[in-house]
Amino acid sequence: MKDFAVLRILDKFKVLYEKSGVNYKNMRMILQIKLIMDGRRVSNVMKGGKKTDESKEKNNYLGLLMFNAFMSIFIGLIMTSSMSSMKSVNIVIGINLFMMISLMISDFSAVLLDVKEKNILLPKPIDSKTFNAAKTTHICLYLAGLSLSLNLIPLVIGTINYGVLFFVIFLIEIILAVLIVITITSLLYTLVLKFFDGEKLKDIINYFQILLAFVFAFGYQLVLRISNATNMNTEYVPKFWHALLPSMWFASIFGIIIDGSKEPFLRGLSVLAIVGPILLIIIYIKSVVPYFEKNLQKLNENGGTISRKNEKRKEVIARLVCKDKIERSMFKFTQNMISTERNLKIKVYPTLAMAVFMPVLFIFMDTNGKSFMENVQTGFGGKIHLLIYISIVLLCFCTGFISNSDSYKGAYIYKVLPIKNPGVLLKGAVKGTIFKLIIPLYILEGGVFLIFKGTSIIPDLIVMFLVLLIVTLMYFNISNKAMPFSVKFATADSGKLVGPSLIAIVVVGVFAGIHIAIRNNILFVAVYGMVLLIANVIIWRVSFKVEWKDIKI
């Protein structure tokens, strides 16, 4: 079997595992097969008999790493500023923790919350300690990779600025940060698991994931603003709550060693940098995991019914937007699937939440001492509502996972049912997604800006909506090669969307650029809107001309 370089690195820590009572040999075996499996995808049901192409064993994870490395260029810019090394590291690690927790929630929750695996492994002579160690290490390996790639450029720039010592400390720190990420996430999951059970629990975890993504986005934003804007170059003033920020723990070491601060409080914090993660992971292994695993069983319980209210309203909308009967049923089917498919929600909802709040975040960021209201009225040259373009990019991302499903095996029905034209199915699915996820959020967002800025922005809102429709359809077409709900979710799935996402960003950028340029002339805006409307009609007409033979189910 294939041996992995990471496992050979892991071998160096063998003693550590054995000391804590893990059967290292078995754990290594489990990890090895997990890594092999992660490199493969069960693409679909229909291909069943054929042997899957081994060379296509390309890894979405690699894509994700590359994307992170790209992102790290921007994070690296922070290191080039005139701030002290402590402050810049604080910000860098803060961004890091936030990004890794979001990724952990969207991509690795499935690994953490998996219950099926127990049925395979536990009847074998594998004790639960080894089983859990394998699970934790599996996630840690991935997170370590993500952490390293995210910090690539900051690490390089820091080393150039501050020397080799920086390199060593920072490298160790970003690995330790992984322990914090995994502990915090599972600690929070454990809390949820404690209070709820069964089907309800799965829903709650879902909402919880969204909330979590928020808390980290905003919490850190706030913290950065406080520590950043007010005292960019002044002396560090210790605050008690700094002890609660893991990024401060890590940054404090640089404060002492590189900036030469003699502040005793920092010394205390620097001890936390080492003790904190280790303590957390010990708590995690000793108390969180056993409890967590026991309660995880609840996820297997089924029960609860889904209410059938709003059926009439859905029917009316379906009749309005879909002429074709099959398209109409696909429209409703998609909406129902989205509201029950948990893995899909985990991937999509945090992005959607970001979509709503990103513009607000930008408004906060650019205050320049003005009040919030004043800023909404006049900020960005009175074009502040055009920040919705940021939301548009994020909103269109949610169509990227429509081809995935946990119950991907059910996709055979497309072939069994008497359906002549598969394009109709795709069309119904896109429309369903737009109505279920995108339009409600766009209306919310537009509504908020409407209240603040008045009716004068209505033409802009209409233009942006038309752009949204075009981009969403485009994104759907380039990111989904299969029928809706027909592909299994895989670890590190987001990787496949890196390319389409970059394209979407560029396209939205172009549309937004034109819009900003012509915005002051209402006539131009009207013409622009007309052009977009016509473009929409054409694109929606031509996009779904597909035959069954073009589709790989």
């Binding site: 092999i36 008999g49 042997k51 002579p125 069983q297 609840k298």
Partner: protein, 261 residues
């Protein structure tokens, strides 16, 4: 070891998921070399009992001893002596059979080369040649089932838990497998056979356990059960003991609903 000693011993086993009780006091003593037919209605608690014995489910009340070891003490020694064919073909489908077997071999501490050779022969006997290096996800349902059966036996275990092991097997393989079970039992292996196919249970089992509402409501050989109830087949005994006698009416209504297009 002599035949009378219990190889599985369950005393007053209770289990509940939240507020619903699944098992309400199960008592069992199973000696070596028996084939136990474990039957019951859907949701009677069959799989729960098996999962508890396998150490997948925790949080039960009562005492479960397997091979003389109380399984709640966390030791995994007894698992080296048990094999399991799960009801839903739970297996790492993205692996090839070779990779999966190698993995199991490491865990059971078997000698790899000999193991692979043996497995290839075993697969051959089940009519599965040349697929050991294909991914399990490409297997048909029957092939997966055969592989699971082989996997449950590679370490020559003393106790076997078969949860609906025949699902997907063709008639010829079923015959082979039934004969295999018979011989394994005469060699002193204990087989815990859970199924809904009454004719098979009736034929293969030395002893039948009927579970209803989380309790053992019948325990004995087929002859003993049929003498008590003066009924013909196990199916009829099953209907009677689970209090079900309106199948004809239900069927009639079912069909009339189907025709109401």
């Amino acid at each position: 070891m002599e035949n009378l000693e219990s190889i599985i011993s369950i005393k007053n086993l209770h289990m509940s998921y939240g507020s619903t009780n699944v098992l309400n006091g199960i008592n069992l003593e199973i000696p070596r070399g028996q084939i136990i037919g474990y039957i019951g209605t859907n949701g009677a608690g069959k799989s729960t009992t098996i999962k508890i014995m396998l150490g997948i489910l925790e949080g039960y009340e009562g005492k479960v001893e397997i091979l003389g070891q109380d399984i709640s003490n966390g030791s995994i020694e007894y698992k080296k002596k048990i094999g399991y064919v799960p009801e839903l073909a739970d297996i790492y489908e993205n692996l090839t059979a070779y990779e999966y077997i190698t993995f199991l071999g490491e865990i059971y501490e078997l000698e790899q080369e000999k193991l692979i050779e043996r497995v290839e022969k075993l697969m051959g006997l089940f009519g599965m040649e040349g697929v050991i290096n294909s991914r399990i996800s490409s297997y048909s349902k029957g092939m997966k089932q055969k592989l699971l059966i082989i996997c449950s036996l590679i370490h020559n275990p003393d106790i076997l838990f078969f949860d609906e092991p025949l699902s997907g097997l063709d008639a010829n393989s079923v015959m082979v497998f039934k004969e295999v079970m018979r011989s394994l039992a005469t060699k002193g292996k204990t087989i815990f056979y859970s199924s809904h196919i009454m004719d098979v249970v009736e034929k293969v089992s030395d002893r039948i356990l009927l579970l209803n509402d989380g309790q053992v409501v019948a325990d004995g050989s087929f002859e003993e059960l049929s003498n008590n109830d003066k009924k013909g087949s196990l199916e009829e005994i099953f209907n009677q003991l689970t209090g079900f006698n309106e199948h004809a009416e239900i069927a009639k209504e079912f069909v009339s609903l189907v025709e109401e297009v």
